[in-house]
């Protein structure tokens, strides 16, 4: 995702007109890259900032291969994301559809895309 951050939201019915100065609208859709940044920030909080300091966490970062997160740390990350984004993001329903291999191959970008999808509904 390399869209400029000033690009307007896609043609969401009933969406208010985009304003470039609109920085924090808690009920609106996140800006491109914002969710990835939040996921990256919470990864640092869950596994410890000192362990991510040497990593540039982006959409392609893998939780198991790159971050070497344990499964329980992935649970803790999901808890933190749930608290941050609220009930609109239903991780449990998503999980019920995923196979273990999907979780093993999970990336920051895929989690962010799921969250963005939930927030845009």
């Amino acid at each position: 995702m390399t869209q400029p951050h000033t690009s307007p939201p896609s043609s969401r019915p009933g969406a208010p007109p985009a304003t470039t100065a609109d920085a924090a609208d808690p009920s609106g859709e996140p800006r491109p890259g914002e969710v990835v940044a939040t996921v990256a920030q919470l990864v640092g909080e869950v596994i410890g900032e000192e362990y991510v300091a040497d990593l540039d966490i982006g959409p392609d970062t893998s939780f198991s291969d790159d971050l070497e997160m344990e499964s329980i740390e992935f649970v803790a990350l999901a808890e933190a994301l749930q608290l941050r984004f609220g009930e609109r993001v239903d991780f449990v329903a998503w999980l019920a559809e995923l196979e273990l291999d999907d979780l093993i191959d999970m990336t920051v970008g895929r989690v962010a895309a799921f969250i963005e999808d939930c927030l845009s509904r």
Partner: protein
């Protein structure tokens, strides 16, 4: 008085000694029987269920998951890993529940069987998942890999101290066997599941002798049945806990 389950945050640390990491799934307002799921030893954590069967069971039941002491994000005391210690923890986790079902894998199954015997008025149903029975002891390797991948240098730096620094192995080896007599002492409806390729498959015969054939099911998979047969095991748990398909009704349903 503990607050009702649906007012507790989905993931929370349960205060006390040791502190326990508890996670809830599903809603508590539907009147369905709550299901407490207990993971297996060493490589297990509440993530074992969270990533596999729990979201599927949570479609029908409120689900409570927790990390056994010494595991996951729960506290890891130096000593105190007898079954009675685990029962104390389970009592704290279930303090807000009048009645509940227990689903236990391996060591979690041992704890569940003992809990069903100890609290016959509250444990309404029991599902054992590849529980070692009758003399076959699990080979306790204290550094089994996590299902999501073997640890690299980065993970080892974060988690240098594990169960090998505790009395976990000695306490478990000192434990009396969970066997046919233990199962016979369980009064609630019970389903015992086993993996066809598990080293503990012999337990299926022991369970059949103690409980009857309808109470035993064997699935394709090894000891980690929740990983190997996620869908089948989830469906079996939900079907077993459904009031209309209790084992006693099975014959009439064909």
């Amino acid at each position: 008085m503990s607050p009702p389950a649906d007012t507790v945050p989905p993931g929370a640390a349960l205060d006390g000694t040791p502190s326990l990491h508890v996670r809830r799934m599903g809603r508590a307002d539907g009147g369905a029987l709550p299901v407490v799921m207990l993971h297996g030893a060493v490589s297990g954590s509440l993530a074992s269920w969270w990533m596999t069967c729990a979201p599927r069971v949570a479609r029908a039941h409120p689900v409570v998951l927790y990390d056994l002491r010494g595991h996951g994000l729960s506290e890891r005391p130096a000593t105190g890993y007898r079954l009675r210690d685990h029962l104390d923890d389970l009592a704290r986790v279930t303090a807000h529940l009048d009645a509940f079902a227990l689903v236990g894998h391996s060591l979690g199954g041992w704890i569940s069987v003992e809990a069903a015997r100890a609290w016959p008025d509250r444990v309404a149903a029991l599902v054992g998942v590849d529980v070692p029975l009758g003399g076959i002891r699990p080979e306790l390797s204290l550094d089994e890999p996590d299902p999501v991948g073997a640890p690299g240098a980065r993970r080892r730096r974060r988690h240098p101290i594990r169960l090998s620094h505790t009395s976990f192995r000695a306490d478990l080896e000192a434990e009396t066997q969970v066997d046919a007599r233990s199962l016979a002492g369980v009064r609630c409806p019970t389903l015992m599941t086993f993996g066809r390729h598990s080293p503990f498959l012999a337990g299926a015969e022991i369970a059949t002798a103690a409980l009857g054939a309808p109470a035993v099911r064997v699935f394709d998979g090894g000891h980690a049945l929740h990983l190997d047969a996620t869908d089948q095991l989830s469906a079996a748990i939900v079907e077993f806990l459904s009031p209309t398909t209790a084992p006693t009704d099975e014959a009439s349903r064909g």
